[in-house]
Amino acid sequence: MTDRYSRQIMFKHIGEMGQEKIGQKHVLIIGCGALGSANAENLVRAGIGKLTIIDRDYVEITNLQRQNLFTEKDCDEQLPKVIAAKKRLEEINSSVCIVPHVLDANFETLCPIIERSSIDLIIDATDNFDTRFLINDISLKYNIPWIMGSCVGSMGMSFTILPGQTPCLQCLLDSLPVSGATCDSVGIVSPAVQMVTAFQSTEALKILVEDYYSLRTTLVTFDLWSNYFQTIRVERAKKEHCPTCGKQPSYPYLQYDSQTKTELLCGRNTVQIRTGKKIPIDRLAKRLKKVGQLRVNPYLLSIDYQSYRAVIFRDGRVLIHGTNSKEIAKKIYHQLIG
């Protein structure tokens, strides 16, 4: 069976020893969209020991353009992404243990999974910074490296966070970026996904074979359509008083108050989301104008999106009309606002 990995064992930085290590490791991938699918496929083909994948979503027709584990049939059957992923991944490599969780990733769902497993590495494949800051806190609290990745349009970025060594996401970004460009507002092409995945999976392999010396220490960012590529040295961003990786961490995203709160507005077929941060309505309006019928006034922005209507207030409240499901509401919120 090691014959199957022969080309990887031949690679001088992996070898027999490295392959054995890969086979003993457990990776957690958070999100099973484009980046999640592609990273999962790489790790499973590479012979990872155990892979846990979390995603709350099911396969939709618009996913097929870039999410490599899914087929038309998965879409017809509306399979949860992690379930469809597990099926394909086991056809690819039946010797890997795949643990799927159909779950919204938040601190209440993630912490128990982390605590009862022995996770060697977390790969970020989420589509929003809320969850990335949460992963960042978890990484530092439980001393697990994580690899950030994101993409949109033909752009992407990636950075590897090693607790105790590198700056963390909180060092790089003082606060949650509001309204980053999302795949659902400005689109995406599949090579952007692959490029980020190439960086993430390479760093993952380095960490799994414990070749820390070779890790990329820069933040990488690119735009494939503009033929642009840049790496940024970030050592100096590490902050002594960082609330996540500093000397006296408070792990702000593991506190109940920092969570984006969703509540059902009873009988109104509406979910209210409270984000706890101001939303720049005007900028958002510019970006969303092609996405759906839009109305703006000084207090709010309202948009018809799919069969729903989202009303976004400047003070950070969002109403999603047309659903009683908190999961659907959150998904729409992340698709529109990021």
């Binding site: 910074f129 949109v152 100096r236």
Partner: protein, 77 residues
């Protein structure tokens, strides 16, 4: 002269990939203020800044000849 590279939505906002500014010395914070006024950027908070491919903070000083990149984090995945 300082060369400024713009990415993602910042490019869209002003329809240019890079701009040049004639100053000898300026802090990152001051440059942000200047660009907000001059180009009407909606928001330059939470945009990562790099001077000559190194992460920079608001109080860092940019010299003539430097290349500054403004990189808004992208969120998708």
């Amino acid at each position: 002269m300082i060369k400024i590279l713009l990415f993602a939505q910042l490019q869209e906002e002003i329809g240019q990939k890079h701009i040049e500014i004639e100053v000898k010395e300026i802090t990152v914070q001051q440059l942000k203020e200047m660009l907000k006024v001059k180009f009407k950027f909606a928001n330059l908070d939470n945009v990562m800044v790099a001077i000559n491919e190194e992460y920079a903070m608001d109080q860092d000083v940019i010299q003539s000849g430097d290349t500054v990149a403004f990189i808004p984090p992208v969120s998708g995945g």
